[in-house]
């Protein structure tokens, strides 16, 4: 069983949602990023999304754009991203790592080369923003063939007609983008999210994670009540930006988010 499937199965037994944390590889430096990465599982991250820095992050808002610029300035690249994963795996063989980014750095490296390196490093899945199902033969199908999960985004603009195509080759979990827009801006209403998750769960057996616009432990808890996973990105990288080279504030924030997620369903039950 893949690390992602195993993690969601265990969380299902505990009846709690996963906290999925996003950081950009090499932000603010390769060393600090490695420290944050190493500390994330203990702080309560159940799945780690590691952003591969790219010069032109078209779907990202100001916070993650800035994280990408910091990472590139600090020497971030596909190679350093994979090295960070490899180092992390020395200490942790259970926390799933999903690489998130854009297609060009992978395409330029060569899809087969990249997939071989990623599996060897201990990557579990990929979220590639600019590869819709229409382009599945580019990376999605080759990735699935070597055992990597390909996690697809579903959005408020993904209508019922399109949903089956979006879900068809998706694996690991489905990432519901709660707002039409870029990362880290507006937040969606909890009721809308609940309806959207129900719509997805009617069509797929995969876990459904929700992200875009989750900023506080309270919001994380709200989503954790209705979804299988809560994805937090911009709020974490903003904390990284504000903390200079110190990993402690970031890990403390992740701990607070995790407490929110862990409390969510017990509070409802009580």
């Amino acid at each position: 069983m893949s690390r992602i499937a195993a993690r969601f199965e265990a969380l299902g037994r505990d009846n709690r949602a996963a906290l999925v944390t996003f950081i950009t590889a090499a932000d603010p430096s390769i060393e600090t990023c490695a420290e944050i990465l190493k500390g994330l599982p203990a702080a309560g991250a159940d799945v780690i999304e590691l952003g591969m820095p790219f010069t032109d992050p078209m779907a990202d808002g100001p916070a993650i754009q800035a994280a990408g610029r910091r990472a590139l300035a600090a020497g971030g690249s596909v190679s350093t991203t994979l090295r960070l994963v490899r180092d992390f795996r020395q200490h942790d063989d259970t926390t799933p790592i999903v690489l998130m980014g854009y297609y060009n750095p992978i395409y330029h490296r060569g899809v087969d080369t990249f997939l071989a390196e990623a599996t060897e490093a201990g990557v579990d899945g990929l979220i590639i923003v600019d590869l819709p199902p229409e382009e599945d033969d580019e990376l999605c199908l080759p990735a699935r063939a070597v055992g990597l999960d390909f996690i697809r985004l579903a959005t408020p603009t993904t209508d019922d007609k399109r949903l089956p195509a979006v879900l068809a080759n998706t694996s690991g979990f489905v990432y519901y983008v709660a707002i039409a827009g870029i990362t880290g801006t507006a937040s969606a209403a909890a009721a809308d999210i609940g309806r959207a998750v129900a719509r997805l769960k009617a069509k797929t057996a995969l876990p459904v994670g929700v992200g875009f616009g989750v900023k506080t432990p309270e919001q994380a808890a709200e989503i954790a009540r209705v979804a299988d996973a809560v994805v937090v990105g911009s709020a974490i990288v903003s904390t990284i930006e504000a903390s200079g080279g110190d990993p402690a504030p970031t890990l403390a924030f992740v701990k607070a988010l995790s407490d929110g997620v862990r409390r969510a369903r017990t509070e409802v039950a009580a």
């Binding site: 820095p53 790219f54 010069t55 032109d56 992050p57 078209m58 779907a59 808002g61 754009q65 590139l72 690249s77 596909v78 190679s79 854009y102 297609y103 060009n104 750095p105 992978i106 395409y107 330029h108 490296r109 923003v129 600019d130 590869l131 819709p132 229409e134 382009e135 697809r152 985004l153 579903a154 959005t155 408020p156 603009t157 993904t158 209508d159 399109r162 979006v166 983008v177 039409a180 827009g181 870029i182 801006t185």
Partner: protein, 449 residues
């Protein structure tokens, strides 16, 4: 007779070869029977260079739809709306009427007699698209896209711009149709193209300076895509060049093909034959594909696109993506891109803001790969010299973009026979660039004669 009609299927005016009924004027035939790339008449000519893109939006391996899921339904909706519009004679008629009465088409074909004498070789003709309303070819595409936006019921228009020509053209059609307009423009371009910024504001557009990256065209396109992804319900994104996700490269090409369609007819009227060489500047490549496309299946016509070599190809201060780049994926399509070893996109550099883009329309990438067109680099100094050459010999100030094309013409014309013909697209006028040129000349880049 010159047809001002933009034939929305592919702009081919060579009716008999395409198997259209004899005696039916091309435009009437086109209006009654729109020919699409699936049309069996076209399929009988498997060697045609004009049948792309395929149903995945690809020209060979180039093109495609590399966008975030949020945009994907919009792209599909746009494709369906454009296919319907192409099949509707009323759409072609609307475009034709505006092209004639508002834009001033057809633009003249002009024999540059003194320049030809000065160069001492092939006869040089210009397609005078700088005489269009708003001063460049950009308006051809904006008319088509805003009419499509109206058909789709969109109420807000966004655009990216580099030199400001596309921003001005978009702001113009938005004023004409009473739609609000937001133009994203790199902060560096806002500075170096101040007259166009002022024009856009006069036309009622909001100009948003983009400071991300190097603050040029690439970054303004990122920002426009972010706006679109956020305002999916009401917003239509008018992309200014023949790039971006399918169907944009095809759509922009179709709207710009009026350039080549007119020029082909005009050249046949003026010289009784086709030109030997077509030359046009390529940034994203919309004026070039507009000129080239109607000639692609004419084997006697050589085709050269001219890229900006900036301060030279040896460093990274240039935008010659086809000459010095590699295939990659950016802004929704696979195409040649300037990029580093890690696949990070490099910032282009050119004295011409309109060529300052690290990519190129996917159809050009394909034309290069299959060898139907060649692409040559021209640097800042050569373009500045050509700018002055045209001013002195013909009394025309070209934009710095076509000045690159002209610099190549000035190189190649003397090597050709006097009975040969070069047709160059003079795609924009140079008023917007006089300050840039003045600054460059003062800095001693090229001595003023």
């Amino acid at each position: 007779m010159l047809s001002p009609v933009l034939n929305p299927d592919d702009g081919d005016d060579d009716a008999p070869r395409r198997g259209r009924r004899a005696g039916v004027p091309a435009e009437a035939s086109a209006a009654a029977e729109p020919v699409t790339f699936e049309d069996p008449i076209v399929s009988e000519r498997p060697n045609s260079y004009r049948t792309g893109p395929d149903d995945r939006g690809r020209f060979g391996i180039f093109g495609g739809r590399f966008v975030a899921e949020t945009l994907m339904p919009l792209i599909l909706e746009l494709e369906a709306a454009y296919d319907a519009a192409r099949a509707d004679p009323a759409f072609a008629a609307e475009i034709a009427a505006l092209a004639r009465d508002y834009v001033g088409r057809p633009s003249p074909l002009y024999f540059a007699e003194r320049l030809t004498e000065e160069l001492g070789g092939a006869k040089v003709y210009f397609k005078r698209d700088e005489l269009n309303h708003t001063g460049s070819h950009k308006i051809n595409n904006c008319i088509g896209q805003i009419l499509l936006a109206k058909r789709m019921g969109k109420t807000r228009i966004i655009a990216e711009t580099g030199a400001g020509q596309h921003g001005v053209a978009t702001a113009t059609v938005c004023a004409r149709f009473g739609l609000p307009c937001v133009v994203y423009m790199g902060a560096k371009d806002v500075e170096r193209q101040a007259p166009n910024v002022f024009r856009m504001k006069l036309l009622g557009a909001e100009v948003v300076p983009v400071t991300a990256g190097a603050g040029t065209l690439k970054d303004s396109m990122n920002e426009a895509l972010r706006d679109w992804v956020t305002n999916v319900e009401d917003t239509f994104y008018i992309i200014g060049t023949a790039a971006g996700p399918h169907p944009y490269p095809r759509m922009v090409r179709d709207f710009q093909s009026i350039i080549g369609t007119e020029a082909r007819e005009q050249m046949l009227a003026a010289e009784g034959r086709l030109p030997d060489l077509l030359v046009a500047a390529v940034g994203g490549g919309s004026n070039a594909i507009g000129l080239f496309h109607p000639f692609l299946d004419d084997p006697s016509v050589a085709i050269t696109g001219v890229e900006a070599a900036g301060e030279g190809l040896e460093g990274d201060k240039h935008c010659a993506s086809l000459t010095a780049g590699a295939p990659g994926v950016l802004h929704g399509n696979r195409t040649y891109l300037l990029q580093d070893d890690d696949g990070q996109i490099l910032e282009g550099h050119s004295i011409s803001a309109g060529l300052d883009y690290p990519g190129i329309g996917p159809e050009h990438s394909w034309l290069k790969e299959i060898g139907r067109a060649s692409y040559m680099p021209i640097d800042d100094k050569e373009a500045l010299a050509a700018f002055q050459l045209l001013a002195r010999t013909e009394g025309i100030l070209p934009a710095l973009e076509p000045a690159h094309a002209l610099a190549y013409v000035a190189k190649v014309a003397p090597t050709m026979a006097k009975d040969q013909i070069i047709l160059m697209n003079l795609c924009g006028r140079g008023d917007k660039d006089v300050h840039t040129v003045a600054a460059a000349l003062e800095a001693g880049a090229v001595s003023a004669h």
